[in-house]
């Protein structure tokens, strides 16, 4: 009879417990021979294998775990780490808390930066899309970059340059009244765009064909939100029609609402063919700038090389002939990559379609602040770990005596610090879940911690940084601790580690950073306060701005007189543009004895009472008045800057006019105003000319209210409005709100820097608090002896504080020059800025000194009042 398969037998013997082998092999043999007898040999062999495999059960398997368990040591280390945490609750708290706050702050900053840098990243062709911008240089106006281009530029670039694949224009049409049957709404953010818009940009459509949606004249695309204002469902809206004035527009598609992180924000897109089919010359229109042009370039095109050809392009299309390069004195073109439009446009003016435009340089500031905070927190960890080393001498000594190798001790301490860092990471996550909504309120963002859940790769980055942080901060304390000589420790010789230069250096670094942040915050707040309170030369409080259309313009005089009858209204006027923006520039000419001068200052057309309502001071001459019939379009009030530019000795009465007026039919200059800051304080005051043009149609009414109850005044204005205006909604804004948005980027930066400064000081102080308590503990005997010998409490406190105060002073000396340099650089962003006063540095130093004193005071004063007996009793 054949014996059972030996391979299967060997396998079984290999894995089965020794004590089971005999009975199991016996049972299987019996089964095997039983099957041979009753069935067949093959069946028996197969079954033997089957039975062997069925012994692969936990109860029967050999226990392969060896007696020496590799995890034991780790378990032990974990336990020791845990016990140390509990034993020194105070220090553990400081360590974990400061790391937690540091990591939480960095995470928030990281979220912020990711949000800002994610702008316009949803377009698949984003790396090849450029915005066409101009540098304008007109006499009488400073050279300025503007986000404007001319209608003829896009089409002609497409035909002139093979590397330009496509273009689209983006022409702001402002607020429009749309209606469908009885429903009508004014819709903001409406634009004319070329049919290529949806091919260049990837704004998603809910319905409609993105290839053809913008091809036909009178086609319109609505965003989902806008469509649902007029229609019950998207299906109903798609293919439906909507009225704008007398035009019936066909809805050829519904767009998804534009994402928050897009610099272009729109609710309605009209097809550009609506314009070009009636006016084909539009595609070759030059000279005036009023829209944005975006270009799509070939993959490997060097944008700079293309830019170099744009001078000739301008000459070709705008010059009289190919020799006439005068146009280049006024215009130059440059290309701005799509990725830079959001973050790198702060020096670009007339940039109207750039939602949430942010000064990209602040991104670097934020990153730097985040790193500072992390450094300050890490220093706490390193300092406290090494300063507390004395408590672990014995542990290290004993471990070494029983055979621990350096690497094992090193691993132990590194593991501890990594564990703490990870714990801090978890806590930081929890803190941020609570803190982010609050931060969102402060800086007007929509940040969310879901970002990390949605995009785990960023979570991995944070995790990696935390691990690295644990490793780095653990490195020095670990090396420090493992370097102890076991023999010295066990003999009872104290290590002379109290005066650590390295540790002092870290404290200096920590306080230097904290000091830099304190001073920066003071300067930044100072500057913002300055901008808020600077006398800009006109009243910006209590002014209500109200949108106007043709109907409102027609009834302006009527509304104005009714409003002026109200007790809450101090004045009513209107203008073509809003203060706080750079006014449009166009030609202006004066005639003097020596000839006619052309200039291009900023211009604004206003209503008669403009200067009175805004309280703009007239230095020479008079204000506008209805008593002079020539004040309509023929009388100019200019600012001092323009007088200077024109070189006029006696400006009043000088013949002047718009650039297009013939030289022999000019009006005259009737007044000169002081240089008021009609633009934001980032910019110097430009030359300005003001003129009355009631016939041009004002864009905005300015109503100055008086009294303590602005809401009541608004209600009264609205009441008057509703009685006279049928088709235009009452839409208002306060002028100071508008100014607040001008400094939004700066305010948000200051909010973040202030919050971070407070955190940095908090963390640095906690570290100092811990460090001073350790130092006091180590000097307790010295203090006792000194007291016995007659030292008083003040002397003791001074003795204990002296070193720390020296460190703070040293930090001040090192940090001040660097801080000065950085702040000076920042202030150059503002044409009007405060000077850096050295007093602020002294104030910052005093603040940090005071904070340091109070922090260590708790321990030093306590020590100085302690009864020396307590300290000296045991010896």
């Amino acid at each position: 009879m054949p014996s059972p398969p030996s391979l299967a037998q060997k396998l079984l013997e290999w894995f089965i417990k020794d004590e089971l082998a005999e009975e199991v092999l016996g049972d299987l043999d019996e089964k095997y021979y039983y099957l041979i007898k009753n069935k067949s040999t093959t069946r028996a062999k197969l079954n033997y294998w089957y039975q062997v495999f069925n012994y692969l059960r936990p109860f029967a398997l050999k226990n392969y775990r060896s007696n020496s368990k590799s995890t034991t040591m780790y378990k032990h280390n974990l336990k020791i780490a845990y016990r140390h945490l509990l034993k020194n609750r105070g220090y553990s708290f400081i360590n974990i808390f400061s790391l937690t706050v540091g990591i939480a702050a960095c995470m928030a900053i990281y979220l912020f930066i990711m949000d800002e840098t994610s702008f316009d990243s949803m377009h698949s062709k984003k790396d090849h899309i450029y915005r066409l911008d101009e540098v304008q240089n007109f006499t009488g106006t400073k050279e300025q970059k503007v986000a404007l281009s001319m209608p003829g530029m896009g089409p002609n670039m497409l035909s002139d340059f093979p590397e330009v694949i496509n273009y689209t224009r983006f022409h702001q049409r402002g607020k429009r009244l749309l209606s469908k049957d009885e429903i009508s709404h004014t819709v903001e953010q409406t634009f004319n765009v070329d049919s290529t818009f949806l091919k260049i940009f990837d704004f998603p459509l809910v319905s409609g064909d993105r290839e053809t949606a913008l091809n036909e004249p009178n086609a319109v695309l609505l965003t989902e939100e806008t469509a649902l204002k007029f229609f019950n469902t998207i299906e109903e809206a798609q293919g439906g029609s909507i009225k704008m004035g007398d035009n019936l527009l066909k809805i050829t598609g519904i767009l998804e609402d534009v994402p928050e992180t897009s610099h272009m924000q729109f609710n309605v897109l009209f097809s550009m063919t609506t314009v070009t089919s009636e006016n084909p010359d539009f595609n070759d229109q030059w000279g005036s700038n009023f829209l944005n042009t975006y270009l799509l370039l070939e993959d490997n095109v060097d944008a700079e090389a293309l830019e170099a050809k744009l001078d000739d392009f301008l000459v070709r299309h705008m010059g009289e002939n190919s020799e006439d390069r005068e146009v280049l004195d006024y215009y130059q073109l440059f290309l701005q990559p799509l990725a830079e439009v959001h973050l790198n446009s702060s020096d670009i003016e007339h940039d109207y379609n750039n939602y949430r435009k942010f000064n990209g340089r602040y991104i670097d500031t934020f990153a730097m602040v985040g790193i500072f905070i992390l450094i300050i927190a890490s220093i706490n960890f390193m300092n406290l770990s090494t300063a507390r080393a004395s408590q672990r001498w014995k542990e290290v000594g004993v471990r070494k005596a029983v055979g621990a190798q350096k690497i094992q001790l090193f691993n132990q301490f590194i593991l501890e610090s990594i564990l703490l860092a990870l714990l801090a990471l978890v806590l930081a996550f929890a803190i941020n879940i609570l803190a982010i909504p609050w931060l969102n309120d402060a800086i007007n963002r929509k940040l969310t911690m879901w970002f990390f859940i949605d995009q785990p790769q960023y979570l991995a980055v944070i995790f990696g940084i935390t691990l690295g942080l644990g490793l780095l901060t653990g490195l020095y304390p670990s090396l420090y601790l493992t370097a102890f000589k076991a023999i010295n420790v066990l003999k009872g010789n104290k290590q002379k580690g109290n005066k650590s230069v390295f540790r002092s250096g870290l404290v200096v670094l920590q306080f230097g950073l904290a000091l830099a942040m304190i001073v920066s915050t003071l300067i930044v707040l100072n500057q913002l306060n300055y901008m808020k309170n600077k006398d800009v030369g006109f009243d910006k409080d209590q002014i209500v701005l109200i949108d106007m259309n043709g109907e409102v313009n027609e009834k302006f005089e009527l509304i104005k007189s009714e409003l002026l009858d109200l007790t809450t209204i101090a004045g009513v006027t209107a203008s073509g543009q809003r203060l706080g923006n750079n006014f449009h520039q166009w030609g202006f000419k004066v005639k003097t004895d020596t000839g006619v001068f052309q200039m291009t200052p900023s211009n604004v057309f206003v209503e008669y009472d403009y200067l009175d309502v805004y309280n703009i001071k007239v230095k020479e001459g008079r204000s506008f008045s209805k008593e002079y019939s020539t004040d309509e379009g023929m009388a100019y009030i200019i600012n001092e800057k323009l007088v200077k530019e024109l070189g006029l000795k006696d400006p009043i009465g000088t013949p002047a006019g718009h650039g297009w007026y013939p030289d022999d039919s000019l009006g005259s200059i009737i007044g000169v105003t002081e240089d008021f800051n009609f633009n934001s304080l980032h910019h110097k005051v430009n030359t300005l000319s003001m003129v009355v043009h009631s016939d041009w149609g004002f864009d905005e009414m300015s109503v100055k209210i008086k009294g303590d109850d602005p809401q009541a005044a608004i209600a009264q204005i609205e009441n008057v409005w509703d009685r006279h205006i049928k088709d235009w909604p009452f839409d208002y804004m306060f002028l100071d709100e508008h100014f607040a948005t001008l400094y939004q980027s700066d305010n948000q930066m200051s909010a973040v820097v202030s919050i971070m400064t407070v955190l940095a000081i908090l963390i640095a102080c906690m570290g100092l608090f811990g460090l001073s308590s350790i130092m006091v503990m180590q000097k307790i005997k010295e203090v006792g002896i000194r007291k016995v010998l007659g030292a008083n409490a003040f002397q003791i406190t001074f003795l204990l504080s002296r070193n720390f105060l020296l460190l703070v002073v040293l930090a001040f000396i090192i940090a001040s020059p660097i801080t000065y340099y950085l702040l000076d650089d920042w202030l150059q962003n503002f044409a009007f800025h405060v000077d850096i006063n050295f007093v602020i540095f002294i104030a910052g130093a005093l603040i940090s000194l005071a904070i340091a004193l109070v922090t260590i005071g708790y321990h030093t004063i306590k020590a100085s009042y302690r009864n020396p007996v307590e300290a000296l009793r045991y010896e």
Binding site: E22, G26, D27, D29, E30, R57, A60
Partner: protein
Amino acid sequence: MIETKLGDFEEVILLLVGILGTEAYAFKIAEEFETQTERSVSIGAVHSTLTRLGDKGFLESKMGDASAERGGRRKRIYEITASGKRALENSRDFKVSLWNQFPAFANKLNFNI
């Protein structure tokens, strides 16, 4: 704590140990299970259950004699303990009580016990 409830398969195995008496060792029990239930089972599965019943204290075992067809190896003979018997009785009583509460069958079936 060790689970002391009897599973269905455990109960059958325990009963088979009782039935087989001195012949109750893994191979025989597996054979008997297959004949009685007409379901196939591996010796390993039976052995595993026997061990578990041993851990629960329902079975005791000792090594028995060797025989030629086992290649001269001894077998492990199992025997029900007192608590094993009690567990079987409890299990039976519980089921009978359930049957008695079943209205369609209550008192109509005669459990000969």
